[in-house]
């Protein structure tokens, strides 16, 4: 029987770590992910796990040591947020190109500056090109479930890529929710022993990691990483199916909420999906309007065909970005979804919104307005700009149109 608990997102990740008992965890504290290494250090101090914790002197060293440990043949993990991940940036690419199945618990937080400790997706979205699989969560339950699924995805021979398990800083990392935990033995069995094929400490072979590869070789390396990303799609679905067998909980590339007959759709990532679901309920109950929601779970590899298909019958779509990329055309999710729809000859009108930067709240009534806008856009076929803002204080800047 599943265990009923009340845990914060950070506690849920730490609990999953305890159940998995990985070999090495180098980490450096940063709000709001600090609690994760703290909990792990406590488990170690109380003799509950035999993980070795390396209290490194920076996040760059955290990921460097994680790379070293994983290349050596250990199951290696770390956790971070925001500027911590920015400091790891170089190492994210090294981890991915060395095909090391590291699992990183990322508690999403806005990047400086100005310094801000609250949730947005600028950290992970900035790293979207680093070659990591990215899995996002709406709730604490999803964070826990995603974290457990990350290992069999990363370590699958067809994949061998690092995985970032993302959750929204404070909103889920510190918010306490009811949660179902899987029994220890089931988690252990689901995740399995880590048995790498090649590693530095191999008993019978030697290995060299991290070569200088000139232009004769570099491009094929990147193509190899892409192949792993392509193969990861199948593995992500297989792991989700196995997870469903174990828990009854369903996971895929994204969740479709009331999309069967939807004419107006929001595409969103993370905890704000919960608020959006409340708006969908309210609109459907009070007006009968056919509104729906797509919540992206897997952003890398991006499920472009499936998304385009899911949006093929709607009249208008609002794509919600919780990070800036200062593109003239969109935010990161906007760019991906639009490109997917364009390639599939999608006919829906598309509007891209920035919301929630640096932890700014988004409310049910904000989403109600968004669905109202979608209705207007579908009727008039007029989208006023490539992107717009939700919750931005007016009069703070003169936008040039």
């Amino acid at each position: 029987m599943a265990i009923r608990e009340r845990l914060s997102g950070n506690e849920a990740v730490a609990y999953a770590i305890k159940q998995i008992n990985p070999d090495v965890m180098p980490a450096f504290p940063i709000t709001p992910s600090t609690e994760i290494p703290q909990y792990v250090a406590n488990y170690i101090a109380n003799g509950e796990i035999d993980t070795e914790f390396i209290p490194v002197e920076s996040e760059h060293s955290a990921m460097s040591a994680t790379v070293g440990a994983c290349a050596a043949g250990a199951r290696a993990i770390t956790a971070t947020s925001s500027c911590g991940m920015a400091l790891m940036w170089e190492e994210l690419y090294v981890a991915a190109s060395n095909r090391l199945p590291i699992v990183l618990a990322l508690v999403n937080r806005a990047l400086s500056g100005p310094i801000n400790i609250n949730a947005d997706h600028s950290d992970s979205m900035g790293a979207r090109d680093s070659g990591w699989i990215q899995i996002y969560a709406e709730s604490n339950q999803e964070v826990y479930d995603n974290y457990i699924q990350a290992f069999p995805i990363a370590e699958d021979k067809r994949v061998q890529l690092p995985v970032m398990v993302c959750q929204d800083g404070f909103i889920t990392s510190h918010g306490v929710e009811n949660i179902f935990l899987v029994e220890d033995d089931k988690v252990k069995c689901f995740v399995g022993e880590y048995e790498p094929e090649h590693y530095l400490l191999h008993p019978t072979e030697r290995m060299a990691v991290g070569p200088y590869a000139v232009s004769n070789y570099y491009m094929e390396t990147k193509r190899g990483q892409r192949q792993a990303m392509i193969q990861a799609r199948q593995v992500i679905l297989e792991v989700a199916a196995k997870f469903k067998e174990m828990t009854g909980r369903t996971y895929s590339f994204f969740e479709e909420y009331k999309m069967e007959d939807a004419e107006y759709a929001v595409v969103i990532i993370g905890s704000a999906a919960g608020t959006c679901k409340a708006a969908v309920e309210q609109i459907r109950n009070t007006t009968g309007k056919k509104v729906g929601l797509i919540k992206i779970r897997v952003f890398r590899p991006f499920p472009e065909k499936e998304i385009a298909e899911a949006l093929s019958k709607v009249k208008a779509v609002a794509i919600m970005d919780r990070s800036e990329m200062f593109s003239a055309t969109s935010g990161p999710l906007g760019a991906e979804v639009r490109a997917a729809m364009y390639q599939a000859h999608g006919t829906a009108q598309v509007v891209n919104y920035f919301y929630g930067l640096g932890g700014r709240d988004i409310t049910v009534s904000d989403f109600e307005k968004i669905y109202d806008n979608l209705e207007t856009i579908a009727r008039t076929h007029i989208v006023t700009g490539m992107y717009e803002y939700i919750g931005l204080r007016e009069g703070t800047l003169q936008e040039e149109k």
């Binding site: 390396i54 760059h60 060293s61 440990a69």
Partner: protein, 312 residues
């Protein structure tokens, strides 16, 4: 610890752990440092060699060829300390779990750029945490891989590409950072400073101690660079001898907080003997720059006195 008398012939006939065919320059000190240190490994012991980005890395592990007979990891420029601390920790866990039977030693190499400067924090962290590893700095006194830019290991008044000597400049303004002393202040298990003298006995025995003393160890090895320093390859051993005989590069070690002088020249030579064969100091021998050489001499005398006091 095993202490045997040093037999040059015997040591030199041990199997090479850095294979020939790498692309380092003729007359490169860095390569000699690597070969000498790796020779100090017991033949049955396995090793994981780490490496910061630099000349050594790009010349010894060009895909798909590696010059290393042992397992090897290059990660990036500034993180050789952190990377090997991860490898060493993985070893401890896997050994504890019975997944590994062999004895492994952990040795990482970095130039002075990767060690004194960009990798300083990562080195300090790894040393402070006390991982059972050796960090070897092959100190050639500038960023040689990118073309002889100054580092904090560059001696004062050296001509480098970012501190060029010219009408309004006499080369690098600042004096060298004393990294071996800084690492000794981390209270690590072993620190040794060495270079190529006396048939490599000094470097070889220090490498043995560094590798086989449990805990974190640091070796700072002056490793001349023919391109950056501007000398004939045949001059290298003489330059090394002059470096120690002028007390520019004193040989010492620090064990359990105790400072030990490894070599005291019978006759301390004037610093000109070290400077003269090197192109990077050529401008100092102009008549108007006599004062600069005197300044260098004063600094060396001061540091030599300080070191001798520590070693008493």
């Amino acid at each position: 610890m095993e202490r045997t008398t040093y037999n040059f012939k015997e040591v030199m006939s041990k199997p090479e752990r850095l294979a020939p065919g790498h692309r380092m320059c003729a007359g490169c000190g860095g390569t000699i440092t690597v070969r000498t240190v790796l020779r100090a490994l017991k033949e049955g012991d396995r090793a994981v060699i780490g490496n910061a980005t630099g000349c050594l890395e790009v010349s010894s592990f060009m895909y798909p060829y590696t010059a290393y007979e042992d397992s090897y990891i290059h990660n990036a420029f500034e993180n050789a300390g952190a990377t090997l601390s991860g490898v060493e920790t993985a070893y401890n866990v896997l050994k504890k779990k019975g997944k590994i039977q062999d004895t492994f030693k952990f040795i990482t190499f970095g130039g002075d750029g990767g060690t004194y400067d960009i990798g300083f924090q990562s080195l300090s962290g790894a040393m402070e945490r006390g991982h059972d590893m050796v960090y070897v700095c092959y100190d050639n006194g500038a960023y040689m891989n990118t073309g002889t830019q100054r580092s904090s290991a560059t001696p004062q008044y050296a001509d480098t590409t970012t501190t060029p000597a010219g009408k309004a400049s006499a080369g690098k303004v600042q004096v060298r950072k004393d990294l071996a002393a800084i690492i000794a202040q981390h209270h690590v298990a072993y620190v040794g400073q060495s270079t190529f003298t006396a048939n490599f006995k000094d470097l070889y025995t220090k490498a043995q101690k560094a590798i086989y003393t449990p805990g974190a160890a640091f070796l700072n090895v002056m490793s001349p660079c023919p391109r950056g320093w501007g000398y004939e390859p045949s001059e290298m051993m003489n330059i090394c001898k002059m470096a120690v005989d002028t007390c520019y590069w004193p040989l010492f070690e620090v064990m359990e907080g105790k400072w030990i002088l490894s070599y005291e020249p019978k006759k301390k030579m004037p610093i000109e003997e070290f400077l003269r064969p090197q192109r990077r100091f050529r401008h100092l021998f102009k008549k108007e720059n006599e004062e600069l050489i005197a300044q260098i001499q004063l600094e060396i005398d001061k540091r030599w006195e300080e070191l001798r006091n520590k070693c008493n």
